[in-house]
Amino acid sequence: MNSNPPTARRVALVSALTVVALAAAVVCGLAIGPTSIGTSQIIGDVLSHAGLGHRTLSPLQSTIIWQLRAPRLVLGLLAGAMLAVAGGTYQGVFRNPLADPYLLGVAAGAGLGATFAIVDIGGGINTPTWTPLLAFAGAMVAVAFTWGIGGRGLHSNASTLILAGVAVSALLTSMQTFLQQQSSANSIARVYIWLLGSLASASWRSVWLVFPYVIVCTAICVVSGRALDVMSVGEDESRSLGLPVRRVRFIVIAASSLGTAAIVSAVGLIGFVGIIVPHIVRLLVGTSYRRILPISVVFGAAFLVFADTLARTVMAPSELPLGVVTAAIGAPVFVVVLSLRRRMVR
């Protein structure tokens, strides 16, 4: 079996193709929709915003592109990039291929926070305002709890953290289910929609709210690639190589969780991106996190925008839940890449 690690040429090719996919995703995200607007018109209008040429869109088309599709596209790019890089980072720091960004309780905490805001048992909560805030707060409190239980102390390690995450998630999910059960059928449906994730409520405001978190957290995750490569030999050995394991683990978990919490607060729980994208990238470019993480950022962004384009067009005018689409296209893509890779190394 030829199982030599991927050559620099293959890595360069995959990187280039990923960038092309991102460009295609951006074009799809802007051009595809119920109102047909030509790509050349959109490009012309983008150039006119940069001071080149004159505007090519009517006021209505301009509103559709710049107030509806563009913020949705940008939020999709941010969400895809963040979830994918956070998933890859978690898989590296926990040395566990099943790790995803929701491992330490982000999903359960955000779910409880959002349910609290949507169900609004006592009344008086402005649901649209409070849903992202409580989802974000719930996610961060959940991760802080998990860290407090399993990440501190002399004997803490990746396994104790994962187990603490399982316990915290189970507890918060049970609370969320209880809250949901106490609410009306209408609320249950809204909670359910939120749990499946959607970019439908994207606005420039939500983009700017998550933007700083995503940029900073993605940057931290990407530069942690070298540390994660060292950690691939285990905690004891990486310590003997000079890696401050506990500090690195704290920083990368904090960055991944914070970024994921920000995204989840804006778009709900979009599943599958965080686990499938880093795996596909790993199959294509090998096991080094110095390659996996930056390519996952670009690939994750493209992947989620493609998935969202499908979600909003396949059954238009109604939308499919984004989480359903990410799984429905992610799983077959993963199987194809896996079988291609097997054929290549045979």
Partner: protein, 261 residues
């Protein structure tokens, strides 16, 4: 001054005492091997010397600097470890694996410098690993793999190298090859070696000094030939041992009780 100074070292796991009141001074350039039966505390002792296990009381110093006060990075420039069961991450090249030994020099945010790359190339050459440099680590045989792990430790350019059962699972030829390689590194670079070995013959042949450990305590400490021929050694293992001189080298032969007449 000693390179490695262990003072009244005690290591506990919960209420169980693994190493108890061990004090040793190991001179620069010395090869010191810790021997003793299973459960004697050998691995615990050497892992504490390598700084990956904390002392419950007492201290370990290298060149006068106490390990517990050092950062991971400074410590990794002074002492390297070849663990008993090294993790071999699939998909990594041999060269990248050996390069991990330079982490403490270039840090986590910078790429390896020209000097780091030169050290790695030199190690690959000395250990005859160049032909495997771009191979996936999991494709190596046991002997090649163990040489690669030694290479990673040597790339750390430390004064002290700690090896925990480095020849486990290797056939006779590869056992001798690996220990010979290490011996030549000790001679060339003035390395101080702290090792554990189960094979008493090889322990006696390669070490300058043997430390006999039993139930966490030092039973005997002295020149290899003396410890090998001591009555305490057989006593600790709880069986008969015969030392035979073969061409000037001591060979330790276990005596099966059932074969005694």
């Amino acid at each position: 001054m000693s390179t490695v100074e262990i003072q009244d070292l005690t290591v506990r796991a919960g209420s169980k005492v693994l190493v108890s009141g061990v004090s040793l001074d190991i001179e620069p350039g010395t090869w010191c091997t810790v021997v003793g039966p299973n459960g004697a505390g050998k691995t615990t002792l050497v892992e504490t010397v390598a700084g990956i296990r904390r002392a419950s009381s007492g201290s370990v110093s290298i060149s006068g600097q106490c390990l517990s006060t050092m950062s991971e990075r400074s410590r990794a420039r002074m002492v390297a470890l070849v663990p008993q069961h090294p993790e071999v991450p699939a998909g990594m090249t041999v060269k990248d694996y050996v390069s991990l030994g330079r982490t403490a020099y270039h840090g986590l945010l910078r790429a390896p410098s020209a000097r780091d790359r030169a050290v790695v190339d030199s190690v690959l050459e000395r250990l005859s690993l160049q032909e495997f440099a771009e191979r996936d680590v999991i494709t190596l045989s046991g002997g090649e793999r163990q040489r690669m792990v030694l290479g990673r430790a040597l790339a750390q350019s430390t004064m002290v190298i700690v090896l925990d059962e480095p020849i486990t699972g290797l056939d006779l030829r590869h056992q001798i090859e690996l220990l010979d390689l290490l011996k030549s590194e000790v001679a060339q670079c003035g390395l101080t070696v702290v090792a554990t070995l189960h094979d008493l013959t090889l322990a006696g042949q390669f070490a300058d000094r043997l430390v006999l450990l039993d139930r966490g305590e030092v039973i005997l400490d002295g020149p290899a030939r003396e410890v090998i021929r001591s009555a305490e050694l057989a006593h600790c293992y709880g069986m008969g041992l015969r030392v035979v001189d073969v061409d000037g080298s001591d060979v330790v032969v276990p005596v099966r009780s059932g074969l005694r007449h």
